[in-house]
């Protein structure tokens, strides 16, 4: 099956995932699978499918065919994508789904224009060469409509290289029974501690990607991700009210080792929060109690508050108000019909004085962070990954750009943040991990709270919404605590805050130190039409924002 620019039509996005968790249909719940996936048995998800020499042979067939037909550049991605979902509610397993998707995607430049084609299950060189021919013919056809030829930043070839996520235990090698037991034990703990309902999910990903280009790079990469999560619901039939509390876990670029915690992975306080090891049993036990507590918590009084935002919450605000507006393709208008454009226009960068945030605010892009969702050795156009500044001492200093964009910024080298969510989809600029750097002076969360007179401490991510140019946003959370005169005085509910991106980041008065730095993130950041999803982490330490507008979200129907 040869295709042009074929992309997955639907993906498990954040919303689908939440619906899945909230769903109560009987029987097997089949999540939306990535394109061209096969459902397989679990034992098909381990081991090497094809060796590197075979991949090189197939890739060379594509590169040579493209070159012979006039391509000035081409790259071949051979991808094998494995997913496993384990879905449960209360004492029931609702579904175990294993999927594999394998194929090759080829991108070429002919007559200054991109062309792309993909083919499933390539068995021999002829199939790959034919796919390259299709990509060339599409480039030639599109070249007729071309206004500006592609300007590709130079990239040195790395030769034959490999990169493997530094995982300790491959989650796909852990028996299904162990995973089911983990979830059902957690669910039971929730029920014992006062939950009326609980849904829990384990989602595991292994991307085996081989990249080859006419620049002379042959990169073999093995990427692992894991996402344990749950929603606990408490119902008070008498009042007709219900409340939920979601897990405080983060999806991580890790193996099953994320579920094995050391004491150093835990952060104590009003509730336990987690670094690179997640204790699901502990978190779900607390969640059940907190969901019940929410039912009778004080409804927030709307007004201005100083916000103390935990990393399990702040990652999403960073994602929406920093990560997205600094994607160069959005700034230029390529996403105008879907996700939108950006307030952070080029003139603001060029002014070298655009105060994105206060002096405390240092935001970095990083494709190398160990354990993060975005970490790879090489991006999907063969650029070695790196870390770079986006906002330094509050000033906007850069965007996120790939090989055919960096010339617009006057740079000579790609940032290395190109990604395709499948072999069948064409790679384009995607958000690297974007993180708020920890404060340089020692500061604990307790010391931060001590100085707050009237505030709200928010933990966990909730409802999120931002406009198409990333000015005005509104965020909820999972847990809200009222701060009065330096003390946490009790739980709040019905809290959401609204702000403008620039005002918000300029109201940042303090960031806790590195010892509080943790990652949050999402598996399913959507972009493009048809939409592609990408996984990205955002790190921060707890941070304080002064005088933010808090609204009360309670209504009567």
């Amino acid at each position: 099956m040869t295709t042009h620019h074929q992309k997955p039509k639907t993906h498990l996005n954040r919303r689908d995932f939440n619906q899945l968790l909230g769903m109560s249909a009987a029987g097997l719940l089949l999540p939306t699978m990535p394109a061209f996936s096969h459902a397989v048995s679990a034992d098909e998800l381990v081991g090497n499918y094809i060796d590197v020499s075979t991949k090189k042979r197939l890739a060379d067939a594509g590169l040579n065919a493209a070159k012979a037909m006039g391509a000035t550049y081409s790259d071949v991605r051979i991808g094998r994508y494995l997913n496993q979902f384990v879905l449960t509610r209360e004492n029931k397993v609702q579904g175990i789904v294993n999927t594999i998707s394998y194929g090759v995607g080829i991108r070429v430049i002919v007559n200054g224009c991109w062309g792309f084609a993909a083919v499933a299950d390539p068995k021999d060189e002829a199939t790959v060469a034919k796919c390259a021919a299709t990509a060339v013919s599409i480039a030639k056809a599109n070249a007729r409509l071309l206004t500006e030829p592609v300007v590709l930043a130079p990239q040195k070839g790395y030769g034959e290289v490999s990169w493997k996520a530094p995982i300790k235990q491959n989650a796909f090698e852990v028996p299904i029974k162990e995973k089911v037991d983990l979830l059902l034990t957690a669910n039971a703990a929730a029920m014992t501690n006062g939950a009326n309902f609980v849904n829990s999910v384990l989602f595991m990903v292994n991307e085996q990607k081989y990249f080859a280009s006419t620049d002379g790079t042959y990169a073999d990469q093995d990427i692992h991700r894991i996402g344990p999560s749950f929603t606990v619901t408490a119902v008070d039939a008498q009042s007709g009210k219900f409340a939920t509390r979601n897990s405080l876990s983060a999806p991580m670029g890790m193996g099953y080792d994320y579920l094995q915690t050391n004491p150093s992975d835990k952060v104590g306080g009003v509730t336990t929060r987690y670094g690179k090891g997640y204790d699901m049993l502990e978190d779900i036990t607390l969640a059940a109690k907190q969901a019940k507590e929410k039912l009778t918590a004080k409804s927030v009084e709307a007004g201005k508050y100083d916000l103390v935002l935990d990393p399990s919450h702040l990652w999403l605000t960073i994602h929406e108000s920093v990560g997205h507006p600094l994607e160069l393709d959005r700034v230029l208008g390529y996403e105008a019909n879907y996700a939108g454009t950006s307030f952070a226009t080029l003139d603001k960068l060029q002014s070298k004085s655009f105060q994105y945030g206060s002096k405390e605010v240092n935001l970095v892009a990083d494709k190398t962070q160990v354990g993060s969702l975005g970490a790879v050795g090489y991006d999907d156009e063969g650029v070695g990954t790196k870390k770079w500044d986006l906002v330094r001492d509050g000033i906007l200093v850069n965007y996120q750009a790939i090989r055919d964009q960096v010339h617009i910024l006057g740079e000579k080298e790609s940032h290395g943040c190109c990604y395709a969510d499948n072999w069948s989809s064409v790679q384009f600029q995607r958000m690297p991990n974007v993180s708020l750097q920890a404060g340089k002076t020692p500061l604990s969360v307790q010391d931060m709270i001590k100085d707050v007179k009237k505030g709200v401490y928010i933990i966990g991510d909730g409802s999120f919404s931002i406009d198409q140019q990333r000015y005005n946003f509104q965020f909820g959370g999972q847990l809200f605590y009222e701060i009065k005169d330096g003390q946490i005085v009790g739980m709040l509910k019905d809290v959401a805050y609204q702000a403008n991106t620039r005002e918000f980041w300029n109201s940042c008065t303090a960031v806790c130190d590195q010892s509080d730095y943790r990652l949050g993130g999402a598996f399913n950041d959507g972009k493009g039409q048809p939409s592609q999803s990408s996984a990205v982490s955002h790190g921060s330490a707890t941070a304080r924002f002064n005088g933010v507008n808090v609204i009360n979200t309670a209504r009567k129907i």
Binding site: H4, L28, S41, G240, N337, S465, Y471, Q474, T553, R555
Partner: protein
């Protein structure tokens, strides 16, 4: 040849079933072609087409089920897939909520397929994009748009004798037009079953008008306003509400349809008495599959082969039906009404212009964007207006206004109903333009 006929599909399904050794076996076979063209900054950025044909076998032993899929159709591959599904089923944990498969069903005659759409080729897509790009280029406006067409079929069969087949086509088109200075933005959206009903130039011209008319937007104070929501603005809120009508969630006390003290609000008047919402797979404006799992329909419809029938969800403001899984319906002793594939909100005969003319003071909303649930208890949602928001006074559009963030529940909205226009197709549903009083805008946005 990705579109198989009913006979071709049945032949493959019957062959697969002949290999089955499990207690129960179900086969689903689906395929089709999807094509797209995308443009931005007044140039085509990507375009393509793909074909797919895939078969899934679900085998069940007792209450253990397993699924395997394949996209090769020789006898050996088909048999191997059946064996693999059976192996997976044997290893699967028991599902206590498993329901035996359905036997033969009687389905309505629906026709969600158009030969005009099936015939779409790359030239058509290029022309459709050109018709949208050309007027924008000539007026120094910047177009970004996307067209996607799908032609597909879906067939089900199982060892209990169920046989189902559906063919469906759809075309979705969206266009955003921005002024060169970035101060104005307009939008239009269309979706059709039969592509001969799509005119990308007509839709683009509306987006162009809105872009030009929305520059120099004035800031109004946030607060409660009478709004006219174009169907593109109300569709997501209504769709979210319809997606929350699951009977089990209501029974379990975690739905807007749960009742204080236990039970559900079925039979209660929850909305203005002019609100009637139903679904009908035979409606000629939004035809959908006659069974769940038939593909098409943006709204679900289930996947287990249950018949899709005409169902009234809200009748004159009263909640008449909820939908159920087969397990929960059996447990509760109620009919196993499946979720709909699409819905229709009854309206009036007025045009959008009529609604504007009858408005003393209000705001016209083209669309709402980035809508997220804030509170599932009350179905409170937040989001923002986008791509054309205008102030109305004395029956006339006076000036463009800056975008607002809203915090509102469709339940409250449908109680604050002032007037309804003539329903139009949007996202596969039929929805009237709605005039709503006291719609809550909570802050302003600088976004264009």
């Amino acid at each position: 040849m990705a579109i198989l006929t009913k006979e071709e599909a049945k032949k493959i399904i019957d062959k697969v079933l002949s290999y089955a050794k499990a207690d129960e076996t179900a086969v689903s076979l689906s395929g089709g072609r999807t094509g797209n063209i995308r443009y931005a900054r007044n140039s085509v950025s990507t375009s393509g087409e793909s074909n797919n044909l895939a078969l899934a076998v679900t085998s069940v032993f007792g209450k253990r089920s397993g699924t395997a899929t394949i996209n090769e159709f020789d006898d050996a591959s088909l048999e191997k897939t059946v064996r693999r599904a059976e192996e997976i089923a044997k290893l699967a944990p028991e599902n206590p909520e498993y329901m035996p498969m359905l036997g033969p069903q009687t389905y309505l005659n629906t026709n969600p397929y158009s030969e005009n759409t099936a015939k779409i080729d790359p030239e058509y897509r290029a022309k459709a994009a050109f018709d949208s790009l050309d007027p924008c280029r000539k007026k120094n406006l910047t177009a970004a748009g996307y067209l996607e067409d799908t032609t597909g079929f879906s067939a089900l069969g199982n060892s209990k004798g169920l046989v189902a087949y559906n063919r469906a086509t759809s075309v979705d088109f969206t266009i955003t037009v921005r002024t060169a200075d970035g101060l104005g933005s307009g939008y239009a959206i269309r979706d059709v079953t039969d592509v001969s009903k799509l005119n990308t130039k007509e839709a683009t011209e509306i987006a162009m008008q809105k872009a030009l008319a929305s520059v120099t937007a004035k800031a109004l104070e946030p607060g409660k306003y009478t709004v006219i929501l174009e169907p593109a603005a109300s569709v997501d809120l209504l769709q979210n509400m319809m997606g929350s009508m699951d009977g089990r969630n209501a029974d379990e006390g975690r739905s807007f349809l749960s009742k204080k003290g236990g039970g559900t609000r079925l039979g209660e008047k929850l909305f203005d008495e002019r609100v009637t919402i139903y679904s009908d797979p035979t409606n000629p404006d939004i035809p959908t599959s006659a069974f769940g799992g038939g593909g098409g329909g943006r709204f679900g419809g289930g996947a287990d082969g249950r018949p899709q029938e005409k169902i009234t969800w809200v009748d004159k403001g009263v909640v008449k039906n909820m939908y159920y899984s087969r397990f929960w319906a059996a447990k509760k002793g109620v009919p196993a009404t499946p979720p709909p594939a699409a819905f229709i909100m009854a309206g009036g005969n007025q045009s959008l212009l009529d609604l504007i003319k009858s408005t003393e003071k209000g705001i016209l909303v083209t669309r709402l964007w980035y809508i997220r649930a804030v509170d599932p208890q009350t179905l409170l949602y937040t989001g923002l207006t986008r791509d054309g928001t205008f102030y109305i006074e004395n029956g006339q559009i006076k000036f463009p206004v800056k975008n607002f963030r809203f915090n509102e529940s469709p339940v409250i909205m449908l109680n604050n109903l002032e007037a309804m226009g003539k329903p139009v197709r949007i996202g596969g549903n039929l929805i009237p333009p709605l005039k709503i009083r006291d719609f809550t805008f909570s802050s302003l946005s600088d976004a264009v």
